[in-house]
């Protein structure tokens, strides 16, 4: 027991000796510019990460747009060509004299058969396409006329 106590005491003394020695050793000097360098590196990485997110987001968004456009453009175009509007409209080219003679009836028939839903869908797709382009290229919207403008 006595020997163990002596051993512990001498161990503590030895460690205290080394504490004294380590206090004598110079601490490495940190240059004044290091903090600035560290923060600039972090800011560079932040900027790079944002660009990657934008890049990835653009391709993902563009891919989804293409997939959606194929589907949503097909439907209105298909509907348009299958509608009576197209049949009446094509009379202008196939039988123009008939159209001129019965132009009032022709106008009413055209108006009645316009594929409104398909037209709205088509315009929406075009609108989203331009809006996404504006988002990724950071072009501001003109306040005066409410459409895209390049400052």
């Amino acid at each position: 027991m006595h020997q163990t106590t002596l051993l512990i005491r001498s161990n503590i003394t030895m460690m205290n000796d080394f504490e004294k020695i380590f206090k004598e050793i110079d601490i490495p000097h940190v240059s004044d510019e290091l903090f600035g360098k560290v923060m600039r590196r972090i800011q560079k990485e932040q900027s790079l990460a944002k660009k990657w997110d934008l890049f990835f987001g653009f391709f993902l968004g563009f891919g989804m747009f293409l997939a959606g456009a194929v589907f949503f453009l097909y439907t209105p175009f298909n509907g348009f060509f299958e509608s009576e509007f197209f049949e009446f409209f094509s009379l202008i080219f196939s039988d123009p004299e008939l159209v001129v003679t019965y132009w009032r009836s022709f106008m009413f028939a055209l108006l009645e058969s316009v594929p409104i839903i398909q037209g709205i869908l088509f315009l929406m797709i075009i609108f989203f396409f331009f809006e996404s382009g504006r988002f990724f290229t950071h072009i501001p919207r003109s306040k005066k006329i409410g459409i895209l403008s390049v400052s």
């Binding site: 020695i21 380590f22 601490i27 490495p28 990485e45």
Partner: protein
Amino acid sequence: MNEYSDEHLVERYLAGDEASLEMLVKRYLAYIYSFIYRFVGASDYAEDITQDTFVRVWKNLKKFDQQKSFKTWIFSIAKNASIDFLKKKKTLPFSYFENEKGENVLSETLYDESPLPSEVFEQKELAEKVHVFIDSLSPSYRVVLFLHYNEHFTFQEISDSLEESIHTIKSRHRRALALLKKMILESIDPIETLV
């Protein structure tokens, strides 16, 4: 903001306060630089590795477990960054006295817990000599000594930072001190010790 704990600053940064990150960097910059400097043994690279360390810290802040100690976490990142650098440079130095298994025959046979003789402290340029002796130790020994005696880490904190068991850390500490003591004693009394 100086009175905020590290974990609180992390929470504030994740909530959008950029100044909290700057505070954390300022708080740990000198300690991390000092640690890396000791570990790699070269100031030329210590700055680059310090920058890498803080970039890694920033990238992994979202994954940091706020229930754990930020101090030991950041030091473990600094250790890994230093090791990665040394691997790239292919200059992982080992102590002159260590074999391939990391065992030091000399320290095991000469381990002596008695205090250093008082003549040691009367030596001129003691600090310079000790600096040279410490630089000759392997990084794993060096870093335990500096974390314990310079940064006043407990053995548990060193164990958490270096991701080693506490038994390994204590063992390294003993061996490092034994080696250092041998070198210091030889510098006073140049009698050769037979292995």
